[in-house]
Amino acid sequence: MRVLKNASTSTLWLWGSLPLVLAAIALAAFLYLDPMEALTGNQPPVQNLSIERVELTDDGFTVDVVNAAPEPVTISQVQVDEAYWTFDVEPDSTLPRLGEATVHIPYPWVHGELHEIRLLTDVGMTFSHTVEVATKTPQPTPTRWGLFALLGAFIGVIPVGLGLMWFPVLQNLSEQVMNFVLALTMGLLLFLFVDTLLEGIEIAEHVPDVFQALPLVFLVGLMSYLILTAAGRWGGAADRSTLDGRRWIATAIALGIGLHNLGEGMAVGAAIAAGEAALGSFLVVGFVLHNLTEGIGIGAPMAEDDPGWGRLAWLTVLGGGPAILGTWMGGFHYSPFWAVLFFAVGAGAILQVIVEVGRLLVERAGDDTTIATSWVNLGGVTTGLVIMYATALFV
């Protein structure tokens, strides 16, 4: 192909488009000959109905379903608690690939008890969903919005804000103690990173295979990390030797923690909506203790500076506020797929912050790079992990 080395533009266009044209022809031929028919035509259909969401209302159950299999599938009958029950399907009882439908079942469910909903297809395959503890699904009334906001505030805003109130103490620590606190922050964040990632993976297992949620956890997490890193480098924003740079790091930490809290809020909201969590005040106490430490993490990089109460308040909102958003999303319209995405973005954001804090520690060590792994720093990281582990026991 050496002859084409200096070819004209039109020749290059030809060579550029030729593979596409040939691919189209090859695909057309493949579809026409249909060798797959001979290979798989005799196999029975593989059906996969994914029950996305079950809402409990005064009129019974409302079930959102997705056809996660390659072939269309028909919902022929419905059982509740091993009894055939009347139902209707919108828009149609036959779902195309990735098609969605809503099944209404007028069933007199019993408050506080377990119910099993089972959809039966045209070939008699069964797809079940268990309502662990039946309770009416919260409807988005103004009171509900307010109550969920209050719950979100308890989970996110209040603990993060209280944690940041230690800022004056952080400002007056000796260099070694400050190193310890930064290392402790890293420990906290390491725990949160693993926790966020695992939550994302756990929820991904409930998403139909066809959406590839598990790979998304890692890929979206990676992209979130790379984009935040690039944003941090842009215009030297994350230069720790400057005031703006340190502020940026604190903001980035708050953002990462905020995304994590969004996910937590979502999980709590969804649990209440599904009636699956025996949510007591103890759980909220656990969240407050657990998330207090997040405030320290946000404040630590700015300890040398005087950010002012306004900035601290803004960081509180950024780090804790998303929990409110999360309880709303989880409580009113929970979608496992979106939950996976938020957890993935959160994990990437936290990873980026861990790297930034790590760099900060290395810089503070100056020329003596061994200090980065000093016993003080290791002790800080370990203490951070232990604190998170211990407070997580409450949740």
């Binding site: 005064d58 028909t74 022929s76 009958q77 419905v78 059982q79 091993e82 009894a83 055939y84 029950w85 009347t86 139902f87 209707d88 009882s93 007028p106 069933y107 007199p108 408050h111 039966l120 297809t121 045209d122 070939v123 008699g124 395959m125 069964t126 309770t135 009416k136 919260p138 109550l147 719950l151 209440i272 949510l279 007591g280 005040s281 103890f282 909220v284 106490v285």
Partner: protein, 390 residues
């Protein structure tokens, strides 16, 4: 805090309102039908509405516990209602020694059948129907059955009755399992009289039975063999006598279908289609004796049962006696392959729809439930079946 949360998130569920609404709707449903006798609010003119309606679709009678839609008998090629009275007497002739010979031909096939509206099951059948044909003969008759296997797996016919080992239709004995495309002949004298069954005995046994290879096998008693009251009883049981013609006879084969093959039935029924006799109640003349040949062909569950509402019946276990084994009972239990004859009447009963079902509530709610529609103008059962393409 906990109390506060509880109040916020749980107390707003208006359970009381919900309950009230449910009770109201149940009362509404009952008010439209025969149960209204106990619901004083329901206007009397509504009481008779259900009896005047055609035997199709009074699904409101059992509330919302039901399947949605209807099964087309023409598509299946068989009708559970017609199966009640569809007796196959075979090709009858007299042999040289005077013994009656009944000849049958049975073909095993693979066939997709609809067992609930919109739900199909890949069945194995005798003569394209589940349950298979109801063979009926008289004790002492010579039975000759040509069995052709047009299915995709080896099958047999194993009769519950008295016969030689090589006619037993079990693997490795006599002709053993009949391969696809092959044929065999089962021949024996019909003994003893009673309500029996036959089924495939190929291995794996559970699979061959629950796929649909079973049916009723009824041997009528011969009055000539009995004296006095027993002779009269035998006449009322023998299809060749007018005494028997006065009885409304029906065959119910209790069966189940494991549509997702997890060893647990998704459908229970009498004569295959879930809720068939709830959607199309069986017409009953109040002054006519009713006789149910009840056969338990349910797979996986050790027992099945029959419970009659508001009435009692006499029960002849296996149908092998001319006096009832149990008198005046309203529930009978049968283990797998157990069968018997139920006799009852609705004489002097108020017209209305009287429920019958398995008294395993689970089976009832999964399809094994129906109604007797007791009314003076009830048509003969034989006229109830759908017109099917030949």
């Amino acid at each position: 805090m906990r109390k506060l949360l509880d109040r916020w998130f749980f107390s707003s569920v208006s359970r009381r309102d919900w309950l009230r609404a449910s009770i109201a709707s149940v009362a509404g449903l009952a008010g439209a039908g025969s149960l209204s006798a106990s619901v004083s609010e329901s206007p009397p003119q509504e009481e008779n509405e259900a009896y005047d309606s055609a035997p199709a679709g009074p699904s409101r009678m059992h509330g919302q516990m039901r399947t949605v839609g209807s099964v087309d008998p023409a598509r299946n090629g068989f009708d559970p209602m017609a199966m009640l009275t569809d007796f196959d007497y075979g090709e009858t002739s007299t042999m040289d020694d005077g013994q009656t010979l009944r000849e049958y031909r049975v073909v095993a096939t693979d066939k997709e059948i609809e067992i609930a509206p919109g739900m199909t099951f890949p069945a194995w059948t005798y003569d394209n129907r589940v349950p298979g044909p109801t063979f009926r003969c008289v004790e002492g008759d010579r039975i000759r059955i040509e069995f052709v296997n047009a299915g995709s797996h080896p099958h047999t016919i194993h009769f519950h009755g008295i016969h030689s080992a090589k006619m037993d239709g079990v693997p490795n004995i006599g002709d053993g399992m009949i391969d696809p495309g092959d044929r065999t002949v089962y021949e024996f004298d019909a003994e003893p009289f009673g309500c029996h069954l036959y089924h495939c005995h190929s291995t794996p046994l559970k699979r061959h039975i629950h796929k649909g290879l079973y049916g009723a096998f009824i041997i009528d008693p011969d009055p000539a063999n009995y004296e006095g009251e027993k002779r009269e009883a035998a006449k009322a049981r023998n299809h060749q006598y007018p005494e028997c013609g006065e009885v409304s006879e029906m065959v119910m084969v209790m069966n189940g279908f494991d549509t997702n093959f997890d060893g647990d039935n998704e459908i229970y029924a009498a004569n295959t289609v879930a809720f068939e006799f709830a959607n199309r109640p069986i017409p009953v003349k109040p002054d006519q004796l009713q006789r149910v040949y009840l056969v338990n062909a349910t797979e996986f569950d050790p027992i099945n049962s029959f419970h009659l509402h508001a009435n009692f019946f006499d029960y002849y276990d296996h149908g092998t006696s001319l006096v009832p084994d149990r008198e005046t009972i309203d529930t009978v239990m049968q283990c797998q392959a157990q069968r018997g004859i139920l006799e009852f009447s609705f004489e002097d009963f108020e017209p209305g729809q009287y429920m019958f079902h398995a008294h395993q509530s689970e089976f009832a709610e999964l399809g094994w439930m129906g109604f007797f529609d007791v009314r003076e103008d009830a048509p003969p059962l034989e006229e109830m079946g759908a017109d099917l393409p030949a």
